[in-house]
Amino acid sequence: MNHEALGKLMDRWSSDAVFRAAVRADPLGAIANTGLQLSDEEMAAVQAVDWALSDQELVSRASLM
C-alpha cells in the first residue's frame, strides 16, 4: 500500500462513520469494498490491530489506612 492509497483510506475513514464501524467489525471486508488493492503483507497489517489498549491515565495511588 503506498501512502496515497493509505491517505485515501484514511480520508474515507475520517469522514464516514459507517465505514469506521465497518472497519471495526470486519476490517478486511470493509477495506476490500473500497476497491483498493492490498498485498498480502498489507492485508496482514490490517489484521494485526491489537485492541487491548494499554495507554491510559493512571489512577491516583492513595495508600489508605
Partner: protein, 599 residues
C-alpha cells in the same frame, strides 16, 4: 388497513392536503414480504416508491449496513423523481414486512392531475432526499429520524461551480456543509491537503468552537451542497445526542492536537523488558501510562499532525492500519489533560451536554459520601526533613533485618500468649489500661502512613499530598504515593507493603512486651497486637483500593487493575486477580472460624 392514516403518519408526507393524500393512498398497493426477503436491490432500476406499514427492514450498500427502517418510514422515492438514477442501496425485510407501494407510472399520472400535489411532493421529496442523504451518506447516519428530519427541514441547498470557494480560512463561520455530489478540495496555506467526496461533512469546526475557519474549501467540479446552519445543528443536538457525537467526532478526527506544556516524560521497561513510558503532569498531579505505540503517537502531537498523518506514520512504523487505536490514544490523553485540543463554544457545550439521568445525582452523592478526602498539599518538604533527620536510617539493611526479626518473633509471642491473654480479656470485670488502646491505635495509624511516606522518600520520589477522609465504611488517613508510578515495580511494591510492615513491627513489639507488663497490662498489649494483625488482614483486601490491591496490581504489572476488571467494555476480570480475590475471601472465612473456635 387504513392507508390514509398510514400515509398521514409518514414524515414529509403528513403535511399534504387531505385530498392529495387520499389520491396518493388510492394509487398505492399493498405488498407483503417474508423475513429475509429482498425488496429492492442496489444497482437495479427504480420503479416503485414504498412506505412501511408494519415490520422492519435493513438498508445496506456495498454489503455495509447503513441503517434500519420501520413503520412510517419510506424508501425508493428517488425513482419517482429521477428515473435515470439506479437504486443506491439494498433493502431487505428483517421481519415480516407490510408495505404500500406506488409505481412510477401511477406517480406521474397523479402529478399531471394534481399540480398542487406535484408542488407538495417535490418539496417533500427534497426533504426526503435530504433526509435519506443524511441518513445514508453522512456522519449523522446513526442519528434518530426526528433529529435528521429537523436537519433536513432547515437545511438549504447550494450549488457551486468548479473553482468556487465554499469557505475561506480565517473567516468566521456559523454553517457546516454536507457534500451531496461533486468533489471539493481542502487547502491549508495554499496547499491542497485532502479531497472531499459525496457524504463528507466539513465546516463543523468553526461552528462548534467559534474559532475562525481553519482551512479553505474549493470546488474541483460542479458540486451540490447541503448547508446546515448553527441554530439547526444545535437544535438537532438537543433532539438527539448522537448528532452532537457525530459533530464532535469529526472535530476530534480532524484535530491537530498539541502536547500540554510542562509534561514530564519517564521511560522505563516492565519485568519482561517491554518498554513503556509514564507521563507526569506536575501541575495537576496526574499520570499517564503509554505503550511503545502510545509513545510514538505522543512524540508526534506537535500541533502539526492530524489523525490522518498520525495514522499513516503509525502504519509505516508498526505495519498496522490502526486509526481507531491512534484516535483512542489521543482522546484518552486529551481527557486526562496531557494534550491540548480546541474547546467547544459555550452554547455548543450546553447543547451537547444532556441532562443527567434521574438517579445520577443520587449516585454521585453516594459516591462522594463513600469516598471523601480532605488533603494537605505540598507536604513533601516536611517528610523529606523527617527522613533526613534520622528516619531514613530505618531503611539501612541492619534496621530492616532487625524489624523483620522483631515482626516474626512478635508473631510467635502473640500465638504463645494468646490463651492466657484471652482468659483475662474474657473476664467480665473492666480491664484497667484499656483506655490506652485508643492513643495506641492512632499511633499505629500514623506509623502505617509514615511507613508509606518514608519509603517513598527512600525510593527518591515525591509524596504528592496526605490527609484524611472516608472510604466506603471506614474513616481513613492517606498518603498519596502516585509519584511511585515513575518508580520500578519492586519499589512500588515496597511502598505498598511499608504500611503493613509498620503495623507488623508494632504488633510484634506489643506481643513481645506482654510478659514484661504484668497480667492485665500484658493482656491489653496482646489485644493491641491482635487488632494490628486484623488491620493487616483488612489492608490486604484486593477487592478495594487498599494496600493489598496496590501491591497485587504492581506485582501483576496491570495498572488500573480494578477499573479494568469492572469495566463492562473490558475483557473481564483478570483470572489471577479473580483467584487471589477468592483466596482472600477464603482466608477471611478461615480466620473467622478459627477465632470462633478459640473464643
Amino acid at each position: 388497513m387504513d392507508r390514509l392514516a398510514v400515509l398521514a403518519a409518514v414524515p414529509g408526507l403528513s403535511e399534504l392536503p387531505p385530498s392529495a393524500l387520499q389520491a396518493l393512498a388510492d394509487c398505492m398497493q399493498e405488498e407483503r414480504y417474508a423475513c429475509g426477503a429482498q425488496v429492492v436491490a442496489e444497482g437495479d432500476t427504480g420503479d416503485r416508491f414504498y412506505a412501511i406499514v408494519r415490520g422492519r427492514a435493513e438498508v445496506s450498500a456495498h454489503n455495509i449496513p447503513l441503517g434500519n427502517l420501520g413503520p412510517q418510514e419510506v424508501f425508493g422515492e428517488i425513482a419517482l423523481l429521477s428515473p435515470e438514477v439506479r437504486r443506491t442501496a439494498t433493502v431487505r425485510a428483517q421481519t415480516e414486512l407490510v408495505l404500500l407501494s406506488l409505481s412510477a407510472t401511477d406517480f406521474r399520472k397523479l402529478l399531471q392531475g394534481h399540480p398542487a400535489l406535484q408542488h407538495h411532493l417535490q418539496a417533500s421529496a427534497r426533504r426526503l432526499l435530504r433526509l435519506r442523504f443524511l441518513k445514508l451518506s453522512t456522519p449523522f447516519a446513526g442519528s434518530s429520524q426526528s433529529a435528521l428530519l429537523r436537519l433536513a427541514e432547515h437545511a438549504e441547498d447550494l450549488r457551486v461551480a468548479a473553482g468556487d470557494t465554499v469557505i475561506r480560512a480565517g473567516e468566521a463561520g456559523d454553517t457546516a456543509y454536507c457534500l451531496v455530489s461533486g468533489r471539493l478540495q481542502v487547502l491549508r496555506e495554499g496547499q491542497a491537503v485532502v479531497q472531499l467526496e459525496a457524504g463528507a461533512l466539513f465546516g463543523e469546526a468553526a461552528l462548534l468552537t467559534g474559532d475562525p475557519r481553519n482551512a479553505t474549501v474549493q470546488a474541483l467540479e460542479a458540486s451540490e451542497l447541503m448547508v446546515l446552519h448553527r441554530t439547526t445543528v444545535l437544535a438537532a443536538m438537543g433532539v438527539d445526542p448522537r448528532v452532537a457525537t457525530a459533530c464532535l467526532t469529526m472535530l476530534r478526527l480532524r484535530e491537530r492536537p498539541r502536547r500540554t506544556p510542562g509534561i514530564e516524560v519517564f521511560d522505563s521497561r516492565s519485568a519482561d523488558r517491554t518498554p513503556f513510558t509514564v507521563l507526569k503532569n506536575p501541575g495537576q498531579g496526574r499520570y499517564f501510562h503509554l505503550s511503545a505505540e502510545g509513545r510514538f503517537v505522543w512524540d508526534r502531537l506537535d500541533g502539526a499532525h492530524d489523525l490522518r498523518a498520525l495514522a499513516i506514520e503509525f502504519f509505516v512504523a508498526f505495519k498496522r492500519f490502526a486509526p481507531d487505536m491512534v484516535a483512542a490514544i489521543v482522546h484518552a490523553l486529551a481527557l486526562a489533560g496531557f494534550v491540548e485540543v480546541r474547546s467547544l463554544a459555550p452554547d455548543v457545550r450546553a447543547a451537547s451536554t444532556h441532562p443527567a439521568g434521574r438517579w445520577q445525582p443520587f449516585a454521585d452523592a453516594v459516591r462522594s459520601a463513600l469516598n471523601w478526602q480532605m488533603a494537605l498539599n505540598h507536604c513533601d518538604p516536611w517528610i523529606s526533613r523527617l527522613y533526613a533527620a534520622g528516619m531514613g536510617r530505618l531503611f539501612t539493611p541492619l534496621c530492616l533485618v532487625a524489624m523483620a526479626l522483631l515482626s516474626v518473633a512478635g508473631m510467635v509471642a502473640f500465638a504463645f500468649y494468646a490463651a492466657p491473654a484471652w482468659r483475662i480479656l474474657a473476664a467480665p470485670a473492666p480491664l484497667p489500661g484499656m483506655g490506652w488502646l485508643l492513643p495506641a491505635g492512632l499511633f499505629a495509624l500514623l506509623a502505617h502512613e509514615a511507613g508509606h511516606a518514608l519509603t517513598v522518600k527512600a525510593c527518591g520520589r515525591t509524596v504528592e499530598r496526605m490527609g484524611l477522609g472516608w472510604y466506603w465504611v471506614t474513616p481513613v488517613l492517606f498518603v498519596d504515593t502516585s509519584d511511585m508510578w515513575l518508580a520500578g515495580k519492586w519499589q512500588r511494591i515496597a511502598v505498598g507493603l511499608a504500611g503493613i510492615c509498620a503495623n507488623l513491627v508494632l504488633a510484634g513489639l506489643a506481643a513481645l512486651l506482654v510478659p514484661l507488663l504484668g497480667a492485665q497490662a500484658g493482656a491489653v498489649a496482646w489485644l493491641f497486637a491482635a487488632l494490628s494483625y486484623v488491620s493487616v488482614v483488612f489492608n490486604l483486601n484486593p477487592l478495594l483500593e487498599y494496600d493489598g490491591y496496590h501491591v497485587l496490581s504492581d506485582w501483576l504489572e496491570r495498572p488500573n487493575l480494578r477499573r479494568a476488571a469492572t469495566d463492562p467494555r473490558g475483557q473481564g476480570v483478570d483470572l489471577l486477580y479473580g483467584v487471589i480475590a477468592a483466596a482472600y475471601i477464603a482466608l477471611l472465612g478461615f480466620l473467622f472460624l478459627a477465632m470462633r473456635s478459640v473464643m
